[in-house]
């Protein structure tokens, strides 16, 4: 037991005191990117000039409860939840008072890939490399609707959603995470039962722990190819069904000890078409029938500590062609099973979180795609490669430890390891019938047909004010697409993909 050093320095105006230090950033001296950074700093200065004590001028949930981000987000690092934040979510976002339910979010990023020379198309393989870009923006609708109903919904704009034949990017908006809830709580000194229902569009988006597939990766991802090796695009646990589908789940949390959630997901259509709003028919995941999702977690809180041990899973049948759902035999079957654990130590001014997830994903291909001749040939141009698999199994291990001090300065170390079956259908590089080496997926082409990828991400971040987070991630690869060296057949090594990623994330 000791007096926490620096605890008291967390003052209302401390964000302003820090505002000058960023202007000495080394990157600002780089002439090629000075201009975007000037704009970045201008925005930063503007934000810092806003009255920091005005609790009514921050995102929707803050307006609703009047509390600072740190009440619900561990160390203020959104979106990771504290025990109270989990309770706020499980009780249907209904704590507080109805307020203007609209918030916005904008992300500027900078990606720099270690080696951009081993490419026959650097301009295409590393779009916007070494440049500050406006990466994404979201409109968030969230908050209390009635005593029992609340919602969280996000529409995201991607300025780099598509590229025309002249190389010009075009923006696009579509529905992002949506979670609409009904919840009630029966509590006395003898028992505590929270139960509710969630209509949502992404399996596990309703989950209150941040080891959930929908939440563990949190920085919005830029689309340009220079960002394809950033941490957010490195292996994370996920569900084969993906997002923008329509789900309904029921959940219960008993005595802050046991959490159970069961639900089913189907295609977003008709009344639930808003779950995939903005996506055209060909881009909308089509599921066969109702596909089960489950979640079980044990929670314990003692002193400043909290620990969760859980498991989750889903079985989904996804049509191979979203435009042809006539034959149930043309579906991929994804069987996902994960075990996860999260530990938190939260005692101002310290916030420590450790997360570990192990996910096993089995992918059964439709008969028409299984046991098919390989698209590539051997080095002599002969069709000797194995036929495609009928089933692939991947295993993802993700661990992360983060620490935040004074809800202002933070860092994290993440480790990732993906292993899986080798499948010639997953090759995106190889020899053609003339024995010539070709590739079809740019700098991420896969010669081995094996997905094995492993590496680590080191991150430092700073929250000068509670609704702005500036972060730097460095992701290093020891293996990529099944190999440490020459994974694409064109001499590209795993470490060539090491990427420096800077982001500035504003939620207002």
């Amino acid at each position: 037991m000791s007096i926490p050093p620096g605890w008291h320095e967390r003052q209302i105006a401390s964000g302003i005191k820090q505002s000058t230090t960023m202007q000495h950033s080394k990157v600002a001296r780089r002439p090629a990117i000075a201009k975007p950074f000037q704009a970045f700093f201008a925005i930063l200065a503007l934000v810092l000039a806003l009255p920091p004590t005005d609790a009514t001028a921050i995102p929707a949930f803050n307006r609703q409860t009047g509390q600072n981000c740190v009440a619900c987000h561990a160390g203020g690092q959104f979106p990771e939840l504290t025990p109270y934040g989990r309770s706020f979510k499980m009780t249907g976002y209904t704590i507080g008072e109805r307020a203007v339910p609209i918030s916005g979010m904008a992300v500027a990023t900078f990606s720099k890939v270690a080696d951009t020379t081993k490419s026959d198309d650097p301009a295409g393989d590393f779009q916007k490399n070494n440049r500050v870009i406006f990466a994404t923006a979201s409109l968030l609708l969230g908050g209390k609707i009635t005593d029992n109903i609340g919602a969280f919904a996000q529409v995201t704009y991607d300025p780099y959603a598509s590229q025309d034949e002249n190389g010009n990017f075009h923006g696009h908006s579509n529905a992002d995470n949506i979670d609409i809830r009904y919840a009630d709580r029966f509590i006395s000194d003898k028992r505590d039962l929270i139960f509710g229902f969630s209509a949502n569009n992404n399996p596990s988006v309703s989950d209150p722990w941040n080891t959930a597939a929908a939440w563990m990766q949190y920085v919005p991802l830029p689309s340009p190819t220079s960002s394809r090796f950033i941490d957010g695009n490195a292996p994370y646990p996920g569900f084969g069904a993906g997002g923008n589908i329509a789900g309904f789940t029921a959940y219960a949390y008993w005595n802050q000890l046991l959490y159970v959630e069961l639900g089913g997901y189907g295609t977003s259509r008709g009344l639930t078409s808003f779950m995939s709003g903005g996506l055209d028919d060909a881009s909308t995941t089509k599921l066969h029938g109702i596909n089960p999702y489950w979640r079980l977690a044990l929670n314990r809180e003692w002193g400043p500590h909290s620990l969760m041990l859980g498991t989750s899973g889903m079985v989904a049948r996804v049509y191979d062609d979203p435009l042809d759902t006539s034959d149930p035999a043309s579906t991929h079957r994804f069987t996902d099973l994960a075990v996860d654990a999260q530990y938190q130590y939260l005692l101002d001014p310290h916030a420590v979180t450790a997360q570990l997830v192990y996910a096993r994903n089995r992918h059964d291909y439709p008969a028409a795609l299984a046991d098919q001749p390989a698209a590539f040939f051997d080095a002599s141009g002969a069709p000797t490669l194995a036929n495609s698999n009928s089933t692939d199994t991947n295993k993802v291990l993700r661990g992360k430890v983060s620490y935040v001090y004074q809800a202002k300065y933070g860092g994290s170390l993440g480790l990732f390891k993906l292993t899986g079956t080798t499948n010639t259908a997953n090759q995106t590089a190889g020899y053609d019938a003339t024995g010539t080496l070709i590739k079809t997926d740019g700098a991420a082409s896969n010669l081995s047909g094996n997905p094995a990828t492993r590496g680590a991400t080191l991150e430092a971040f700073w929250m000068p004010i509670q609704y702005l987070r500036v972060g730097a991630q460095y992701t290093a690869y020891g293996r990529f697409n099944g190999a440490s060296t020459n994974y694409d057949g064109f001499g590209r090594n795993a470490r060539d993909n090491n990427t420096l990623f800077l982001y500035s994330w504003l939620a207002y």
Binding site: M1, S2, I3, P4, W7, H8, R10, Q11, I12, T53, A55, N62, T65, G66, Q67, N68, V70, A71, P83, Y84, S87, F88, T91, T94, I95, G96, E97, R98, K144, I145, T146, D147, N148, I149, D184, R185, F186, I187, S188, D189, D192, G270, L271, S273, F274, G277, E301, W302, G303, P304, L346, L347, D348
Partner: protein, 214 residues
């Protein structure tokens, strides 16, 4: 979204908006929500169902004196109390509470039974803390805590109960008093805490957390 879907969502929302559930509401701006409901549905998230907070980040409220409790919650509501946890956690939650709700919450917590806390520290620390609590520090003019807070640390009117409070919370608040003017209602403590050393603060906080088990 198709017009029919939109209409359905709007209609459902409008219908649902009329449905209040004051017995189990978490609405902090509805004067019809009772203090007991509020304590159970909202306050319990951090302060525990019966006013004993699992996390030392949040103070125990069980058996707190009513006048002190009312003064604090009113201070958060008016933003007069502005220590970091105050503005981070409590300003917003208290901003729309009625006087009646604040009094009701005070009565709810005053009526709860305190739970003995973990004993953390060694006997040397407890002895030093006890000496400070019972006798003060004569050569520095620090008065005995027990003078105002009672021989058993149970508090008295606007002087809060300290027995069984989280040591971490007590230490942080003593620093607030000592170094800032963020708790104007407790300005008397600025004088009292002025000459306390870090060791004094740790000792007395450890002793108070362990009360009444010691």
């Amino acid at each position: 979204m198709k017009p029919a879907t939109l209409a359905l969502v709007v209609a459902a929302s409008a219908l649902a908006t009329g449905c209040a559930n004051p017995e189990r509401s978490r609405d902090l701006s509805n004067p019809a929500v009772s203090a007991t409901t509020m304590a159970q549905q909202v306050c319990s998230n951090c302060h525990g169902m019966t006013g004993t907070a699992e996390s030392p980040n949040f103070p125990n409220l069980a058996a707190q004196t009513e006048p002190y409790f009312v003064a604090q919650l009113s201070g958060f509501r008016s933003r007069a109390r502005r220590d970091p946890p105050g503005f981070e956690y409590m300003w917003g939650l208290s901003r729309s509470l009625s006087d009646e709700q604040i009094k009701g919450l005070a009565a709810y917590y005053a009526g709860q039974t305190p739970v003995p806390q973990r004993i953390e520290g060694d006997s040397t620390r407890f002895e030093a803390g006890k000496a400070l609590f019972v006798s003060g520090v004569a050569d520095k003019g620090v008065p005995a805590c027990s003078t105002c807070h009672g021989a058993e640390g149970k508090g008295n009117e606007t002087f809060p109960r300290l027995a069984g409070q989280h040591a971490d919370y007590l230490m942080k608040q003593l620093l607030v008093f000592q170094r800032t003017d963020e708790r104007p209602e407790g300005s008397i403590m600025k004088t009292v805490a002025h000459d306390l050393t870090a060791q004094n603060i740790q000792d007395v906080a450890a002793y108070l957390q362990a009360m009444p088990s010691l």
